[in-house]
């Protein structure tokens, strides 16, 4: 692991450059230990696939001393420690109305649309972190047969909730806007609620599974979500 100063207010901790669940566990358990250690200070601790960024509101004096402090909080057990997380079940409508690129994906992969949907729903995805856009979940675990390069020309106006495949990743666009992923469906769930204390239901380390809903069910859920009464299915899992 490497510890690097990152500007006058931040320190970056880096693991070997790879994406896997053991690294994620290590990252998240170290993050938790740091959050506890610095609970009383104004510190922002953010993680990604294989890194943690610790930022302060003011300049860090003696940044290398601070790095030594932080190093001491690490335990070799973190990667193997147990973790508790939520498994969220997210409705997705794969109807042609939303699935702009499902036909193309089916052709390229020589695979029935129903089989693509089955595979997309079968996998349990890991939430590595939230980034890129408010409420955008970086999910790992997409079936190899569903990997598909991003579109050469991004679309300018995707619908919020659009479910797409970009390279080895799948994800949901939280807001209307441009995007280059292959769109295979749409989720009626609001991924980012700016007016709530906890604007995203999921957090790094959680798991996500998609399930298929019809166009009618999509509309119903969307309407219910707008009233604030929709509740996502989830269960707590002790690993």
């Amino acid at each position: 692991m490497k510890y690097k100063p990152y500007g006058e207010r931040s320190i970056l901790i880096e693991w070997p450059q790879k994406i896997d669940k053991t690294t994620l566990n290590d990252v998240l358990n170290f993050k938790k230990a740091l959050q506890n250690k610095y609970a009383k200070q104004k510190v922002y601790i953010n993680s990604a696939y294989c890194s943690i960024l610790i930022s302060y509101d003011t300049t860090i004096n003696n940044i290398y001393d601070r790095i030594s402090d932080i190093k001491r909080q690490y335990s070799k057990e973190f990667g193997h420690d147990k973790s508790t997380y939520n498994l969220w079940r997210i409705p997705v409508c794969y109807d042609d109305y939303f699935a702009l690129d499902l036909d193309e994906l089916s052709e390229v992969k020589k695979c029935d649309k129903s089989e693509i949907i089955r595979r997309h729903c079968e996998a349990v995805y890991t939430v590595y972190f939230i980034g890129f856009l408010p409420g955008f979940l970086y999910l790992g675990g997409l079936h190899k047969n569903l990997h598909m390069p991003r579109k050469a020309k991004p679309r300018l106006n995707l619908l919020g909730g659009a479910v797409g495949i970009g390279g080895q990743q799948t994800g949901i666009y939280p807001h209307d806007g441009p995007g280059g992923w292959n769109i295979i469906g749409n989720s009626p769930v609001d991924l980012f609620k700016a007016d709530q204390d906890k604007p995203c239901f999921a957090k790094a380390g959680d798991r996500v599974q998609f399930y298929k809903v019809t166009l009618e069910e999509h509309q119903k859920i969307k309407a219910l979500e707008a009233t604030g009464f929709y509740k996502l299915e989830s269960e707590v899992i002790d690993d």
């Binding site: 990152y6 922002y44 990604a48 300049t59 409420g135």
Partner: protein, 284 residues
């Protein structure tokens, strides 16, 4: 209350942003030039966290619907109160129905208007900063009514003014630290990066400033990791992108430099065609 009669080119309410919400992918946001915004707040005895109005290049026209004290710092957009020119970096009292006009910039890019007690617009996730995908509004709209606190100016704090450091607009020096991937650069790249003059391309906004010149590059992208306002990214095609306050929270381009906080403020006052030179300072 303050009514918006003209919005100006790009005007938004900003405070010090939402750093604690980066874990949800929320941009830090906040005032682009924290030095000038702080100046405007200090003059009024406000808190550093109070919200100000940030105006860009061409200012707004505002009508007061309450008595208040105001101060203006940052770029000089030729402010006038009821058609009379008013001074920058000075406490000024405004009364109900007074009209505050801003024109075009003569120096700098971003101007800051503070009012006594700060703007009282809606707080979303601990901040009043307007930001795309987070707040309903990204910029001011015509006829917006901005809430302020009623203030009775029995004491106008006359002559209260501060010395504004003009180097803030004139210096082309941008202080930087090594970024996490600085060491991946080869000798020639480092040499060129730290000894050439760069200029700001027309792609510059609250999210990022792209530079005109390229730095020949063979570095591979990194696995997506955290970025910060002030991070200088190097793209595979050699473009240099300096992330600003509304930047994404994560990115996959090598992070070769990190601007000092004060340099981020200095850069915020520059625009298309302005020159800059990176000045590397060591970590302590």
């Amino acid at each position: 209350m303050i009514k918006v009669l003209k919005t100006g080119l790009y005007s938004s309410i900003q405070d010090l942003g939402r750093p604690e919400f980066q874990i949800y992918g929320v941009p830090v946001s906040g005032v682009m030039d924290a030095y000038s915004a702080k100046m405007a707040n200090i003059l009024l005895g406000n808190n550093a966290t109070d919200a100000v109005l940030e105006m860009t290049m061409t200012g707004a026209v505002l009508q007061f619907k309450a008595n208040t004290l105001l101060s203006i710092s940052g770029a000089n957009l030729n402010p006038k109160l009821n058609d009379s020119a008013i001074r920058m970096h000075t406490v000024i009292s405004a009364n109900t129905d007074d009209i505050l006009t801003f024109g075009q910039t003569t120096k700098g890019l971003r101007s800051y208007l503070a009012v006594a007690g700060g703007f009282q617009t809606k707080v979303i996730m601990g901040s009043r900063s307007m930001c795309r995908s987070v707040t309903a509004q990204t910029t001011l709209k015509l006829n917006d009514e901005l809430k302020i606190v009623e203030y009775n100016p029995y004491e106008t704090g006359k002559n209260a003014s501060v010395k504004f450091n003009n180097d803030h607009f004139e210096s082309s020096r941008i202080d930087v630290f090594e970024g996490p991937e600085f060491d991946a650069l080869n000798h020639d790249q480092k040499e060129k990066l730290l000894n050439s003059e760069f200029s700001i391309s027309k792609e510059n906004n609250r999210m990022a400033y792209q530079l005109e010149q390229v730095l020949e590059n063979k570095l591979e992208p990194i696995i997506t990791s955290s970025v910060l306002p002030g991070t200088v990214q190097l793209t595979p095609s050699g473009k240099l992108i300096i992330l600003m306050r509304d930047a994404q929270t994560t990115g996959g381009y090598p992070r070769i430099l990190q601007l000092k906080e004060t340099a981020l403020n200095v850069l915020s006052q520059k625009y298309t065609g302005d020159n800059l030179k990176f000045n590397l300072i060591p970590y302590q």
